[in-house]
Amino acid sequence: MQSLILTTTTRLMAALLLMFSVYALLRGHNLPGGGFIGGLIGATAFILYTIATSVSEARAALRMDPSNLAMLGVGVAALGGMGAGFAGEPFFTGQWLFLFQDGDSYVPLSTVLVFDIGVYMAVFGGILTLVFALEQEI
């Protein structure tokens, strides 16, 4: 069933959800959030879009196979763990880089974030693989 209200709201909501998912991903290290939650929220955007339109349109909007995205995420997460090797430390030890340090304010970059982005992609892709497969059966 096509609902005008749902399709119109979805255009707005999907964009908001995607933005919020990135926000949740980035604040995740010290506050509630992180890759897993972010990935779930991001996937919700596409699930909403699937319900409002169709699986094929949602696939087209995603532009890549969600299972590829998930596996790529696993690879990125592993790369995040490998970063520690360059500092001669054990696997998965967090490596930090503080940019633009000015008094108390700085931009912290870390391999932990790379790992989180990998988790984000893996969850995002994994959930969408499942949802698309389930929606298509019906």
């Binding site: 790529l72 690879g75 592993a78 054990p90 696997f91 030890t93």
Partner: protein
């Protein structure tokens, strides 16, 4: 140095990612071959380091044990990783010919690599909860491999497989929870020390039995083996070969690890229980095999019976017994995977694995017949093959303890093993094919012939080498058993302090 322990897990995961991304092209399968070769090299490097330095340990993320996740390799863990890589490489090469493009596009190689990652992880982890995670990785990827392609028969086997394994998982997890409540730690080395201070020894023994059940399902011990013969004959041969070689052995490994390192308090109860379970497992397995009429089903039941020998070695709990268990583990993985490969080639050229519907392999494919005899005789324990030494050590250990009955049963089981191997020989190799087909190896395209026969020849050669020059292997097993019985080195290395 700590990275040597990470490579056997890291290499398969990266290979899996690349295999998956390139699954629609020819590159996918060659990445799989290259990745597994790299895994073999990495595992050999790890092994030589362990031989050189003794036990190795690494703390992930630099969190000190017992708080972080520890990876540790002693001689047993090291050799298991090496043998995993060998079996993995053989399977990948074999699957180049066997696995159709349709399954490759569904991600066959990625699943296979994930399975290898899970197995290597289970052999290397020094943390009980982490072991649980690796078991889950193995369970999920093996379920994927089992049902890949989705025929009715495969789904039937797959559901039984996953259901019984989930029960084992629940048992395992409850055991972990109770053990953590009792001792406050899950690091295996730390547990080794912590269980000594536990006052409630009755509860500890109960937890030990829960672990016995959990790993018993994985290892296919009596009476928890039903999932194995129900599922192993359904997937492609390459998949059943690697399952037969590795999966149950992870269960046996976990039993050996836990019942030497942690649960060595009430040996009189737990290990006697294991002893009788081992004896019944041996007998049931071999009798089940004698009743079967399918190449792969016979082999599946033989896994169960051979698991009995390994657990027997552990249950005897003497240096000689454990040495036999270690030797048996390694020997069995090579031989069993090889027999499944042979069954696969027989199916390919003769058309079936049902013994009533094939034949003529001896007359038309003598090379295959010869290559069947090597692992088959080795499995039954003929000298001078690797199985002879494995059985000899275990039986000798039983005789040393004056357990005449146990020793007698294990010899009788060996005899019955020969019986069912003769049955395969007498039905598949000796008589003419019932449909008049001439199953020739030379009818296969050259590429297929190489991919199918190379792993078989290599594994058969390995069996012969272990059989003809057993001295270094026996010495190795002896050292590994020594480390298991006296884990001081393990505990010291992991915790970084003298206990």
């Amino acid at each position: 140095m700590s990275w040597l322990l990470v490579y056997p897990i890291l290499i398969p995961v990266m290979t899996a990612v690349l295999c998956y991304l390139f699954r629609n092209t020819v590159a996918g399968r060659w990445i799989s071959v290259a990745g597994t070769t790299a895994l073999l090299l990495a595992s050999l490097m790890l092994m030589s380091e362990v031989l050189d330095q003794g036990v190795l340990a690494a703390q992930m993320s630099n969190w000190d044990a017992p708080f972080g996740i520890t990876l540790a390799a002693d001689l047993l863990g090291g050799v298991m990783v090496v043998i995993t890589a060998i079996t993995g490489l053989a399977t990948v090469i074999y699957s180049l010919s066997e696995i159709p493009e349709r399954l490759e596009r569904l991600g066959f190689h990625a699943l296979l690599q994930t399975l290898l990652m899970g197995v290597c992880g289970a052999f290397l982890t020094g943390d009980l909860f982490n072991l649980y995670v690796w078991f889950e990785v193995m369970l999920i990827s093996s379920f994927g491999l089992l049902v890949l392609g989705g025929t009715r028969e495969q789904l039937d086997g797959g559901i039984k497989y996953v259901l019984l394994n989930l029960i084992s998982t629940i048992m395992f997890l409850s055991g972990i929870g109770l053990l953590y409540g009792l001792t406050g730690t899950l690091n295996m080395a730390d547990l080794h020390l912590a269980v000594r201070g536990v006052e409630n020894t009755g509860l500890l023994t109960t937890i030990a039995v829960m672990f016995m059940v959990a790993f018993g399902v994985k290892a296919a011990l009596f009476p928890l083996f039903f999932w194995l013969p129900a599922s192993y004959h359904t997937p492609p041969v390459a998949v059943s070969a690697i399952f037969a070689g590795l999966l149950t052995k992870v269960g046996v490994y976990a039993l050996i690890r836990m019942f030497t390192l942690v649960f060595d308090q009430d040996v009189g109860f737990t290990h006697t229980l294991l002893l009788w379970l081992a004896v019944v497992t041996m007998v049931t397995g071999v009798l089940g095999a004698a009743a079967m009429n399918d190449f792969r089903r016979i082999l599946s039941f033989h896994i169960i019976s051979q698991i009995g020998y390994m657990v027997l070695g552990l249950a005897l709990y003497t240096p000689l017994g454990l040495m036999g268990a270690v030797f048996y583990l390694v020997h069995h993985i090579i031989v069993k995977a090889n027999l499944f490969f042979v069954a696969g080639v027989a199916k390919r050229i003769a058309g079936s694995t049902d013994l009533a519907r094939i034949g003529g392999l001896y007359a038309h494919a003598p090379l295959l017949a010869f290559l069947f005899l090597i692992p088959a005789f080795s499995l039954a324990g003929f000298p001078p093959l690797s199985g002879f030494w494995a059985k000899y050590v275990v039986v000798k250990a039983a005789l040393d303890l004056e357990m005449w009955f146990v020793a007698g049963v294990s010899l009788a089981v060996g005899l019955l093993t020969i019986f069912s191997m003769t049955k395969i020989w007498g039905a598949a190799f000796w008589p003419a094919h019932p449909d008049g087909i001439k199953p020739r190896l030379s009818d296969l395209p050259v590429g297929d012939r190489v991919a199918l026969m190379l792993p078989i020849v290599a594994l058969a050669a390995l069996t012969c080498i272990i059989g003809l020059f057993p001295e270094p292997f026996v010495q190795f097993a002896e050292r590994a058993a020594g480390q298991l019985l006296d884990p001081t080195d393990y505990v010291t290395t992991v915790l970084g302090v003298q206990p």
